[in-house]
Amino acid sequence: MRKWSSLLVALMLAILPLAACRQRTEKAGKQTVSRLDTVKQRGKLICGVSGELPGFSFVSSDGKFAGLDVDVCRAVAAAVFDNPNAVEFRKLNAKERFTALQSGEIDLLSRNTSWTLSRGTSVGLEFAPVVFYDGQGIMVRKDSGIKSLEQLKDKSICTQIGTTNEQNLSDQMRQRNIPYKLVVFEDINIAYATYVEGRCQGVTSDRSQLLSRRSTLPKPEEHLILDTVISKEPLAPAVAKGDAKWHDVVQWSVYSLIGAEELGITSQNVSEMASNPNPEIKRFLGTEGELGTGMGLTNDFAVRIVKHVGNYGEVYDRNLGSKTSFNLPRGLNNQWSKGGLLYSPPFR
């Protein structure tokens, strides 16, 4: 009897806060608070990155995150707070990333994520513009003599769980009828360690990542990235679906990076540009028009981005271009006017 009554009391105590919770969420639900307001209230942006890929997101020797993906986060923080350092980075592996976004643990996913139909629909992501056009490749040891996919017959290939790479390779090998063994790891570092130990004759991933990871291998010159590109990997930042306001902010932050380069605005000349008579530039810088306030930011949001982070070209050069050991040509990741695919809609 005593036992039952104490259980009863315990249960009642447990249910009360539950019921209270529900009420609160219901209220919040009706007003549909945008992530933008949540982020502003918190005073910083929570951004999901990989943290394992030099050039995209990596913890540099001074303990700070650096890379192209990281700079996208910093650009959004600059637009909202005028402070590119108002970001908290969360390291996510490929498998966790979508759940972290769906559950609201992170505000923004900037983690070399390929834009695909199903991710944009059933997985529940809303993609911002592509920040890096990539394709999947395969890396092998030079002394293996392997030059083509066909030569990987009956060989083992390593990759990471939860990536498009896992599926693309399956497609390619099935189409060409090449039997092979796929060994898939949760942790990218173990995948490469396994490849180095010789368990796998090849390792597959986005080509930029192969390049980036090759630079961290014990003897980079002993490894060859095959010429074959087996897929399209448009890498883009993403937010959770159903929050148009927040999506706008992220989308136009990325377009600010791209647009600034097209208009010739850099972190060096952005303050002088203020006196430029070109109306397009004036609107971009917010000295004319109300573009920023229309989406819940200040009118000079693009100035903040360029001032703190630079334009796309500067970001690229700093992380992947000629100033780095990767020295990766711009290729598709150039302005549309220079034969690339980067194209910002007008700031109007």
Binding site: M1, W4, T25, K95, T99, G124, G162, S170, T194, G198
Partner: protein, 313 residues
């Protein structure tokens, strides 16, 4: 009229302790049901807010990813359901083999801990303390990267007892080739769990009163026979309940497989929820699966336990 002096009291059922006993139980059950309903409603509401619908239709869609180890025929064109089944078979494979091997290792090491031989006693002590006191994940990576891949690479081929050989392609026993991923997982789980079982066995044997040893000896039994015929059967009664939890641990710990690239059910489930976004459904399936496996192990061990208990004759 026949008036019962107690009738007034009798009618006040709330004064009856039996009534309250039942009422309390109904109350607790009712509240439990309410709690579950609120939680479910909350989940449903939150999912709706995020535009996620629950449903298991996705299981029939094409999985479109390859799986490295296939005990049954499978291609990426098959469904998620078949992929998950394949993962389950891979899990069961390592669980069954692991439980058998770890019992052999654990019992031998547990007996060795009580050996009269100084070397045997201390070697088993070192075994128990190293494997019990380091994280399983670290051990798995060690077996996989250092032993299976590392040693096999430098030594080319390692031969053990003539019928086991270790190469970069895996473990070969009597001509059956096991992948390095399976091999490392199996050996890792075996050694780790074996260390705990050794301690359970040692404690079990020590719980048998000394008098039993003395009695066995006075009957003229050699120590090894005394152990087998007199001591161990009695120790089993103490050993089996905690042994069951070690088996359960082994089964659940096998879900670390994807750390070393072995495609178990947790691995396939991870890829599935990553590709479909169906986290809640996949997690429910996983919980159901592991629960079924664990309850089956526990049920089997309970039967065994009943069998070895002292029988009233």
């Amino acid at each position: 009229m026949n008036i019962n002096p107690n009738s007034k009291l009798k009618n006040n059922f709330w004064r009856d302790v039996r009534f309250w006993r039942i009422a309390m139980q109904i109350g607790v059950l009712g509240l439990l049901a309410i709690a579950i309903l609120i939680l479910w409603d909350n989940l449903d509401y939150n999912l709706e807010q995020r535009g996620i619908e629950l449903g298991f239709d996705f299981l029939r869609s094409q999985a479109s990813f390859e799986i490295g180890e296939k005990p049954i025929p499978y291609t990426p064109a098959d469904s998620y359901l078949l992929a998950l089944l394949l993962g389950l078979l891979n899990s069961l494979r390592v669980m069954v083999a692991g439980i058998i091997l770890t019992t052999i290792v654990g019992v031998s090491m547990g007996i060795a801990r009580l050996s009269d031989n100084w070397l045997v006693r201390n070697l088993s002590l070192i075994y128990v303390e190293t494997f019990r006191n380091t994280p399983l994940l670290v051990q798995l990576l060690f077996w996989y990267l250092a032993i299976f891949l590392g040693a096999a690479k430098t030594a080319g081929k390692i031969q053990l007892f003539g019928f086991i050989s270790l190469t970069g392609n895996g473990l070969e026993i009597f001509g059956i080739v096991l992948s390095p991923e399976f091999g490392a997982l199996l050996i890792g789980l075996t050694c780790y769990t074996g260390a705990f079982i050794a301690e359970i066995v040692r404690a079990g044997i020590q719980s048998v009163p000394r008098g039993q040893w003395e009695a066995a000896r006075s009957l003229g039994l050699k120590p090894s026979l005394a152990m087998r015929l007199v001591i161990f059967p009695q120790a089993l009664r103490v050993i089996i309940p905690p042994l069951t939890s070690q088996y359960l641990n082994l089964a659940k710990n096998s879900s670390l497989a994807s750390a070393i690239g072995y495609p178990d059910v947790y691995f396939v489930a991870s890829t599935t929820f990553n590709q479909t976004g169906r986290v809640v459904e996949v997690m429910l399936l996983l919980i159901g699966t592991y629960l079924t496996i664990s309850l089956s192990i526990a049920g089997g061990m309970n039967l065994l336990n009943r069998y070895v208990q002292i029988k009233e004759r």
